[in-house]
């Protein structure tokens, strides 16, 4: 489905005079009730649901890898300062890998790296952090100023703000994957409404 007029150039600011525009793969679906602003690269088969705000108007650029799913009410934004290194060894304000799921009302605030095959649960916040591939973060969690190794599980309500806490997180288990898969499955059912 064609991207509509919601993909906008970032407004000129004191720190950025160029009006970068989003680059969105034609196979991606960006709902008309969402905002994608500035230097945002969106890869194949990504879904951006209604009510999301992906604004590269301060920290920039953003990358969203293929098959990743950005659910309703998600906000992606970045601080002016601070960059992370993406999987292509370039600098980004926000990198989200492939086959990940950013669920309803999550806040992804750069500088921030989220690897491939990650699940970020309802209303969780990731800010100034790296979340390694295959991590599952449940609901209402806060991840800030840490680097979470790949394959870790963050339970609902956890507040992970020191590296020591991050290093002690348990590994993802099969039941965690099933739960995350269930939540993603719900969204697949609802997707019929968009397309």
């Amino acid at each position: 489905m064609a991207v509509r007029s919601i993909a906008e150039a970032a407004p000129p600011t004191p720190w950025s005079k160029n009006l970068a525009e989003p680059r969105i793969d034609p196979s991606a679906f960006v709902h008309s009730f969402s905002h994608v602003i500035g230097d945002v690269k969106i890869e194949a088969n990504v879904i951006v649901a209604p009510g999301t705000s992906i604004r590269a108007d301060e920290g920039t650029p953003f990358f969203i890898g293929e098959n990743t799913n950005i659910q309703d009410g998600v906000v992606i934004h970045g601080l002016e300062k601070g960059r992370i290194i993406g999987d292509d060894q370039q600098e980004y304000s926000v990198w989200v890998g492939s086959n990940s799921c950013i669920t309803h009302m999550a806040l992804i605030h750069g500088p921030c790296y989220i690897g491939d095959d990650c699940f970020i649960g309802f209303r969780s916040t990731v800010f100034n952090a790296r979340v390694g591939a295959g991590c599952i973060v449940m609901m209402h969690a806060l991840i800030q100023d840490v680097e979470i190794p790949p394959g870790k599980y963050v339970p609902s309500g956890a507040i992970i703000t020191t590296q020591q806490q991050a290093d002690r997180l348990p590994d993802v288990q099969t039941e965690d994957k099933q739960f995350a898969h269930h939540v993603v499955g719900i969204n697949q059912a609802l997707r019929a409404g968009y397309l």
Partner: protein, 127 residues
């Protein structure tokens, strides 16, 4: 427990899709999203008040909000269930596949119906 700050929606319209029945006296704040998948529905009763940026989604069965219920700003409900009459749900609350009794008050920032694995020995894990 930490929840992202509430933000003002860019969209002053509500986004409604699927079988959604809203009583004419119910009010929806800006940026509300109501979405029912095929073979499921959402029913919003009389006098219901739904706060800014709330999201209600159901993928199977019925999600019903009974008369006089108030859903605070940034409310999120996913899955079937019933919010009882005159219930009052604090802002930034998440409800997953469950119901709230009539007249009940739910603290802001709560999570109801979360059946994911809890880790008791993380000192950082909260209730």
């Amino acid at each position: 427990m930490s929840v992202p700050p509430l933000r003002l929606s860019h969209n002053f319209d509500a986004y409604i899709s699927g079988e959604v029945i809203i009583h004419p006296s119910a009010v929806l704040a800006p940026g509300v999203i109501l979405q029912a998948a095929p073979n499921s529905k959402i029913i919003i009763g009389s006098g219901v008040c739904i706060g800014m940026g709330s999201i209600l989604k159901v993928h199977e069965g019925t999600l019903e909000v009974e008369t006089g219920a108030n859903l605070g700003a940034g409310f999120l409900m996913v899955g079937k269930g019933k919010i009882g009459a005159n219930a009052c749900i604090g802002s930034a609350t998440t409800i997953f596949n469950c119901s709230v009794e009539p007249g009940q008050v739910v603290a802001p920032g709560s999570v109801l119906g979360d059946t994911s694995r809890q880790i008791s020995d993380l000192t950082t894990a909260t209730d």
